[in-house]
Symmetry: C2
Subunit: 226 residues, 2 copies
DNA sequence: CCGCGTGAGACATCGGACGTCTCCCCCGAA
DNA sequence: TTCGGGGGAGACGTCCGATGTCTCACGCGG
């Protein structure tokens, strides 16, 4: 095995063994490279790889630290990856969202805090108040609404998976099509219905309305890709 | 922004723009580093980061290639990351599996091919035939069974998410506990029930039995973590 | 026509040098 | 005594050039 890949595994093992815990600073590159028996150049490649998946956090002039290892950070890299997928994959990704998001909404119906509900209302009002036709803003708002519901489920992993599956470029591509057909109003109405069900604590209604919402976009997509 | 991070984004953009498509070979490190305006060392760090998330495939003595960018590859890195999580996180991960796997089983009930069903039978027979108490083998078999069902759903993303959420070390930790309590027999019986439902094409039964199966382990875990 | 050797080219790894940034100690002023 | 700024030590950022090793393909010879 290449020395760089070996170093990646060794650092991972140091974390698994508890030798390094979240927040710890790694030894300086020179010292660690000596210890692991490779050059500083090669070690830096290993560190960069672990930084990419948010396991390490490199601070220039200071040192390299183990991140909190929270799901939020660790699943973040997934978005980067989803960005690279083509249109064919979008349908499969939507099928996964169709599974995850209704479940998240159902859990939100019983777990959402008052603050989270207030935040959802804010998001909804933001797009209803003004007749802004700015696609970028609509996409941003839609993204946050779905993401906020997932967060209200109380499950960090679930929330981050939903986020990853809804990455920016994929959504932008879709919304461009939807807004062209003037479907924004119905989308907002569906959002309102979902929030209402969550506030009522009606898990099954929240689940159903979310599924309906996702399926509507999904159906449109299937038609559009023909 | 650091030159290395800039290079990561530039290479990503080259893929998004279609300048690089899956299977393409990148220019040699020297040439690409000149073109992107950074040193070969720094470029290598960028390449290593992209290799970590399976976007690039570096072949020594040959060249660096863009991978197929299939979900299988791109979500693979997720397993590496899940490995690093502590016991507290296992409960949240299980809550996600509880959402994903029943849905996957339901889809498998209508999508599974004859080959996939045969493979599932093989896996089941492998642990029933011999009274092997080897924990490592049981874990391996259980892993494959769950994974094979997810694959039978026909959705690559769903399948890989299930795989990522069931990473090796997490499972080993759990199974160590379960086998100690002699619960392997009931687990095998539950697997048999799930497969039966899938073969019958009974989506709802497949969904319910899978949920029951996952929830059983989940319940045990909750009790064990007190 | 088939192999096998060999050379060109690509990645792997190393060592060192220099730049820049961050943190923190220490000293002087209020 | 306390506050604040200067400066040095140390850490990461970047680059360069040399050498090792592996892969692939070309071309020679059987």
């Amino acid at each position: 095995m290449a020395v760089t890949d070996a170093a990646i595994l060794q650092i991972k093992q140091m974390i698994l063994d508890g030798e390094l815990v979240p927040g710890d600073r790694l030894p300086p590159e020179k010292e660690l490279s000596d210890r692991l028996g490779l050059s500083r150049s090669s070690l830096r490649e290993a560190v960069k790889a672990l930084e990419m998946i948010r396991v390490l956090d490199v601070r220039r002039g200071d040192g390299t630290y183990v991140t909190s290892l929270e799901p939020r950070l660790l699943l973040e890299a997934l978005s980067f990856v989803i960005d690279l997928h083509d249109n064919r994959a979008v349908l499969e990704i939507f099928a996964v969202r169709r599974i995850l998001e209704p479940a998240a909404a159902a859990q939100a119906a019983t777990h959402a805090t008052a603050e989270q509900l207030a935040h959802l209302h804010e998001l909804l009002d933001a797009v209803t108040a003004e007749g802004t036709a700015d696609v970028a803003q609509l996409v941003e708002n839609d993204l946050r609404f779905h993401q906020s519901i997932a967060e209200a489920s109380g499950n960090e992993y679930l929330s981050r998976l939903v986020e990853s599956m809804s990455s920016e470029t994929v959504r932008a591509r879709i919304w461009r099509g939807i807004t062209q057909r003037g479907a924004t109003d119905s989308t907002i109405e569906e959002h309102r219905g979902i929030l209402e069900a969550i506030e009522l604590g009606d898990t099954e209604l929240a689940r159903a309305r979310t599924l309906t919402h996702i399926a509507a976009i999904e159906t449109w997509l299937q038609a559009a890709s023909n």
